[in-house]
């Protein structure tokens, strides 16, 4: 039972990271019907930028641990968000009216380009986050010893997801995003600048992805230039699982996938951990392509 609960919390922490990345996929898909393959790599940039900013400004010395992490998160989110906007301008906007394959290939190219430029800048080896950044303490929770960082990761992802949900549901700009997702033409007739909405989506999605990259760096203590691919695939699986285009779906899907994976690794086999996620992906696409919460009807043609 204790192992089960430990794995459950572990799964929720990883799942929170998946969910944060999945939000970027699902928002872009909702508005543009495009799978942004480069999203996973923007996430990796978050992890690397976080490391660079942390070590080059010696933030911790000036602001203390939590102040440093707050400032760091804001900086990483801003920078990766800007990268997302630039990416959309350069690689996707010229292809808005082209056939689908073109945009997909362009997205793949962007992914390969971003990943390999990162390798050229930082080198192919793992980059290690400085040790002792966060106090290595365990918190007692329902009689379980849970590392503090694990709880912080869960909390951070839940806070960001809630903020996004409220933004999209309750504000005027959020309403514009939802309108553009449902019908771009009609949204334009209602006076919504769809291009601005798309830019905004490419600002928010990658910003959350970048924050997830930073969380991964803090959680595991290291980042690798290829990690965006596997995290990206898992997060995409999460988005599909919850129903792509659906924001609460991405959150539920991410947490669920994290838990499935953690339990699968614990009770089936750790060597097959990645295969479990891909099996979930294939099964959900065969059995219920709309996802768990998706009311959006999958286009057949």
């Amino acid at each position: 039972m204790e192992q089960f609960l430990q794995q459950l919390i572990n799964g929720l922490a990883v799942g929170g990271i998946y969910a944060l990345i999945a939000l970027g996929y699902t928002m872009v898909y909702g508005v543009l019907k495009l799978i942004n393959f480069a999203h996973g790599d923007l996430f990796t940039y978050g992890g690397y930028l976080g490391l660079t900013l942390l070590t080059s400004f010696a933030l911790q010395g000036h602001l203390g641990t939590f102040g440093a992490i707050a400032i760091l998160t804001a900086m990483v989110m801003g920078l990766v968000g800007i990268m997302g906007v630039v990416l959309e301008r350069a690689a996707y906007r010229p292809l808005r009216e082209s056939p689908r394959l073109s945009a997909v290939v362009s997205a793949l190219g962007a992914s390969i380009f971003l990943q390999n430029t990162l390798m050229l800048i930082y080198g192919a080896r793992f980059q290690v986050y400085p040790e002792g950044l966060l106090p290595q303490v365990a918190v007692s929770l329902f009689g379980l010893q849970v590392p503090l960082i694990r709880i912080l990761v869960v909390l951070a992802s839940v806070v960001m997801m809630t903020a996004l949900y409220l933004f999209v549901q309750k504000t005027k700009v959020g309403t514009a995003v939802r309108a553009a997702a449902i019908d771009q033409g009609a949204a334009r007739l209602m006076g919504i600048d769809v291009n601005k909405v798309v830019s905004l989506v490419f600002l928010i999605g990658p910003a959350l992805g970048g924050a997830a990259g930073l969380l991964v760096g803090l959680y595991y203590g290291q980042v690798n230039f290829t990690m965006g691919w596997i995290y990206g695939m898992k997060a995409f699986t999460a988005a599909i699982l919850g129903g792509i285009g659906n924001i609460p779906g991405a959150m539920v899907g991410g947490l669920l996938l994290g838990v499935i994976e953690a339990l699968g690794a614990a009770y089936i086999s750790i060597a097959w951990k990645d295969a479990i996620a891909f099996c979930v992906l294939i099964l959900i696409l065969i059995v219920r392509p709309t996802g768990l919460l998706g009311e959006r009807v999958a286009e057949k043609v």
Binding site: A91, S98, I112, F278, L281, V301
Partner: protein, 329 residues
């Protein structure tokens, strides 16, 4: 077939036949790689170019073929080239089983599913599934192929073996494109609804294209296993599938000369510029983005028969001449 094309083909064959005398072992080896990638890309071209199905798991079929050969030739001691049809068959069966439930998925979803499928295959190989694949180390000691009692060993000998198979493949796939089957694939790629409406069983044709492409990749796997004598899961990673996808898109989806040009550019060019090797993938990524914006159809796109006023005029002349000729009889 017009005269100029025949001359071009003969010249290409003559150049290929002469290549081992002009090049050293290193460049022959590069050309062998080009040949293998050309074969794989041609097999992917049937799926991606002709049928328009986004398959990014071609490396999985390649792996199934290569491992079939490796297992049969090391465990049962079958001659390597005899395992080639079996490797093709194994890959085809595998493709039929995995593609059947997902073949109806729309473009980008199919892409994601095939990526997942390819990764599952790689993970299964690493985890030594059925105790046959040798885990992360792979299988070694695959015997050399024997053709008519002659053992193939040197790069120059492999060169002839590989490029003979390339030429055969080009010939067969060209005939395939001109056939009823090829035209049906073109139709369902361009307009699936209209194709279905004209009585083309789209699911069956898509599946047939998938199975055929997989079978060819499987047979190429045999050649690869025979050439390397050692195979491991790392040779069949996701990046192999990406490179194959890139070759087809860069050269021109659906166009056989385009695909071969793509294989030459993607495989041989990084060898020519050594400093370029580390930045290779970054440049490829950039090329993919730029190509999609400025030249979507690829470098050597498929030339489609096009209606011209001249053809109409010629048809009218013939129609006018036929009764006259009959009257003269």
């Amino acid at each position: 077939m017009n005269g100029r094309l025949v001359v071009a083909i003969l010249a290409a064959v003559a150049l290929l036949a002469a290549a081992p005398f002009a090049l050293d072992a290193y460049w022959l080896d590069v050309l062998n790689s080009v040949g293998l990638y050309a074969l794989l890309a041609l097999s992917l071209n049937v799926i991606l170019g002709d049928a328009g199905l986004f398959n990014m798991g071609q490396a999985a079929f390649y792996a199934v073929g290569a491992y079939t050969t490796a297992i049969l030739s090391t465990q049962l001691h079958l001659p390597v080239l005899w395992t080639m049809p079996l490797a093709g068959l194994a890959a085809a069966l595998f493709a039929a089983v995995v593609a059947r439930p997902v073949i109806h998925l729309r473009g980008d979803y199919l892409l994601i599913v095939t990526i997942g499928m390819g990764e599952i295959v790689r993970i299964a190989l690493v985890n030594d599934v059925f105790g046959l694949t040798g885990g992360a180390n792979g299988i070694f000691g695959i015997p050399r192929p024997v053709v008519f009692g002659y053992k193939i060993r040197k790069p120059a000998e492999f060169f002839y073996l590989i490029w003979a198979f390339v030429l055969l493949t080009v010939f067969l796939f060209d005939r395939l494109e001109q056939s009823r089957f090829g035209r049906a694939l073109t139709y369902l790629r361009e307009d699936p609804v209209a194709a279905e409406g004209s009585g083309i069983n789209t699911v069956r044709y898509k599946l047939a294209a998938f199975v055929l492409g997989a079978a060819w990749a499987g047979m190429t796997g045999t050649l690869y296993a025979a050439k390397m004598t050692i195979i491991s899961p790392e040779s069949f990673s996701f990046w192999e599938s990406v490179v194959l996808f890139l070759i087809v898109i860069l050269g021109g989806a659906g166009s056989i000369p385009g695909v071969i040009l793509g294989a030459v550019l993607v495989v041989a060019l990084p060898e020519a510029f050594r400093g370029f090797a580390t930045a290779r993938m970054a440049v490829f990524g950039l090329v993919m983005m730029v190509m999609m914006i400025f030249r979507t159809q690829g470098l050597l796109p498929l030339r489609r028969p096009r209606f011209r006023e001249r053809d109409l005029a010629r048809a009218e002349v013939t129609r006018a001449e036929v009764p006259r000729a009959e009257a003269a009889k």
